[in-house]
Subunit: 222 residues, 2 copies
């Protein structure tokens, strides 16, 4: 079921990662050219030089190939949130963790840009993207809850179940909200930026979005 191991030095792991990347890239390029709905699994597989059956060894769904997310992004963000300076608010910690990750992702400029176009062209895939990030969202909520717990020390008003979480229990309302809102913020930033690529840099949009969130989404005229 699309098992994917973390970075390993072995030749096997390396090849698997390469194949997965090749499939994802082929999917995005074909979708950018012909439209996502017109791209069959057969075409993607052929472009990547593997059989159709193999495609489904890497992705559970055709659409997953367009949305591909680096598997250990979640783990890195979790760590960044936990390791962030104690002075930062949860929102700031999450912002910085995501910014670092996005800056990295933006390095493969062309492919990322193509993907943004593809996702923007068919909202259907945007939703799939949200789904792909949903597990990561849960992890993020956990990380936030744990950070709260660490910061709160003995007296952890609002960190226990109800608005936070003890490690091992399910996160409360606040961590979940923060995680989902932050994910949405990324999506909104990408969506806006993908239609204004010439006017603004993505990271500028991203930071403006978090500024608005931290300010409580006040009317822009005020």
């Amino acid at each position: 079921m699309s098992e994917v191991k973390a970075a390993g030095g072995g030749l096997r792991e390396r090849k698997k990662r390469a194949t997965r990347a090749a499939l994802a890239e082929a999917a995005v390029r074909l979708a950018a050219e012909h439209g996502a709905e017109k791209v069959t699994v057969e075409a993607i597989s052929a472009a990547a030089g593997v059989s159709v059956r193999t495609f489904f060894n890497y992705f559970d769904t055709r659409d997953d190939a367009f949305v591909v997310v680096d598997v250990d992004t979640g783990a890195r963000i979790r760590r960044a949130v936990l390791d962030a300076p104690a002075g930062l608010s949860p929102l700031e910690a999450v912002r910085d963790a995501m910014a670092a990750e996005l800056a990295e992702a933006e390095q493969q400029h062309e492919l990322w840009r193509l993907q943004a176009e593809v996702l923007h062209a068919s909202p259907h895939l945007l939703a799939r993207g949200v789904g792909a990030h949903m597990a990561a969202e849960a992890d993020l909520a956990d990380a936030v809850a744990e950070r709260l717990r660490a910061a709160g020390g003995g007296d952890r008003r609002g960190a226990g179940p109800g608005s936070g979480a003890t490690s091992g229990t399910t996160p409360g309302l606040y961590p979940r909200l923060l995680a989902s809102v932050a994910s949405t913020a990324v999506r909104a930033s990408m969506d806006y930026w993908s239609t204004h690529q010439e006017e603004a840099a993505f990271l500028d949009v991203f930071h403006e979005v978090f500024r608005l969130l931290a300010a409580g989404l006040p009317a822009p005229s005020a």
Copy 2:
């Protein structure tokens, strides 16, 4: 392609709405009982007393049946946002519009509850729900932009493209962000509430979420 007309007195329209509702209800009930993935279109169609082909006359996708959203919810919310008292902030206007809509939805208590369970059980469908609300999200962004334009009058700092929108142009960053964050807030509320139905009323969770948003998502301990 899943054409659905607004409320009409004709016998034809009435029957279409009834069939659609019957299909959606059958889908949710079957999913709640057997798990969403195990429910075939054939089973849903049989339960609703129509042919498989007819199912696809009402829904583009099997999953759409689980996620069904009242088609003119979007229009009602738009109107509520525009008609809200001038003293309310955009966030408050959106909150109240959504609260009214959700209070209405909660009237079919049992079915709504079942649906919440089904969606929560398979995150896959939650994502589909987001997708279903995506168009509504764009409408909401438009409404927010228009409200800003109306409130700002001649001097509409931040309402024009860039952070708002003139009616007819595509919404700026702020309206899009507000719309997507508000939608996410609803989703987060439902998600949390669906695991705490005994402890808290849904609308209480909902209002707490918007309180947190308006406060800029501060750490709960502060």
